[in-house]
Subunit: 187 residues, 2 copies
């Protein structure tokens, strides 16, 4: 069985070099030189001067069948040789978001904010894996970790996608967001 649990380990080693760490909303996190993406890491193994963010892949919570079929037809997997740029974007949403019901969250997510429709415009250039943290324990620092991979020539396009998403009504519920950029140089 492939792992559903992934740990993002920021420290002094790893194949990804961290080029910037920016707090978009709320508390920042420390910039470390490098990052590993590790399946199935147990808790409590953060490097001395670094951090570990954990998340688990899960079923989708908002997309309907027609949207999923579009996504499946267009999306690419992680690990493409040309996709040497990455972004790790941890997000926490507010208590007000989590107090909404499913139909209210769906309405904000898609009918008002077009989250999936915006993302579809950037496929297949941007590959993506969403990890959930909120239900890993009662004290996770973020609700979601999204990992993106793309080729250098698509970086401007990727930035445009983030600007579109951050301008939506859904983002009014984002109380903490960090934008971590990386390049793979294999060291």
């Amino acid at each position: 069985m492939t792992s559903r649990l992934f740990s993002f380990v920021g420290g002094d080693s790893g194949p990804w070099r961290i080029t910037s760490v920016r707090a978009v909303a709320g508390e920042p996190i420390a910039q470390t030189p490098r990052l590993w993406v590790v399946p199935d890491l147990v808790a409590g193994t953060a490097p001395p001067s670094g951090w570990v963010l954990r998340g688990i892949t899960s079923n989708e919570r908002y997309v309907v069948r027609s949207e999923k079929d579009h996504l499946l037809a267009r999306q690419q997997g992680l690990g493409r040789s040309e996709a040497t740029c990455a972004a790790l974007i941890p997000i926490r949403k507010s208590p007000a978001w989590w107090a909404l019901t499913q139909d209210e969250r769906r309405a904000i997510f898609e009918e008002q904010s077009h989250h999936t429709r915006i993302g579809l415009n950037y496929l297949p250039a941007v590959a993506r894996r969403l990890h959930h943290c909120r239900d890993l324990s009662a004290s996770e620092p973020f609700d979601f970790l999204t990992w993106f991979e793309f080729a250098p020539e698509h970086e401007a396009s990727f930035n445009h996608m983030l600007a579109e998403l951050r301008a939506t009504p859904e983002w009014a519920y984002v109380e903490r967001e960090v934008d971590i950029r990386l390049v793979r140089d294999g060291r």
Copy 2:
């Protein structure tokens, strides 16, 4: 902050006496004499001859606003003095369920199976707390743990509710279910 994480510890001690353990579908679990319900228990503390099942309360995944308002208006909390009977029902759904999209799961859950509507008929007699396990780790034995409390005179009614739910299309996706009954005798 109140805890979202709860551990159900089956062993030789605890305020709840286990009166029966029945495997409804799939693998059974061991019948132990007694049970504790413990907030925030760390992993790895199962009694020598017992078990620990862990789950976390979370946002609702299917109810819409009108249904939630009905639930809030009618439901009672846990810990009522007259509610000396309890049931712990761990459930695992099949991979086919988790491969469905949100709209497909909602349609089976409510439009076809009337899960919330059936439950509403048994309020306020039956109090309930749902715990999610699926996203606690990649290897939990169950997807959900539901804890019910009711007075002895409502046991037949509670059994009728379970029979109604188990006859629905939703239950075709239940691949493991254990029905644990308990009484509180304070020892």
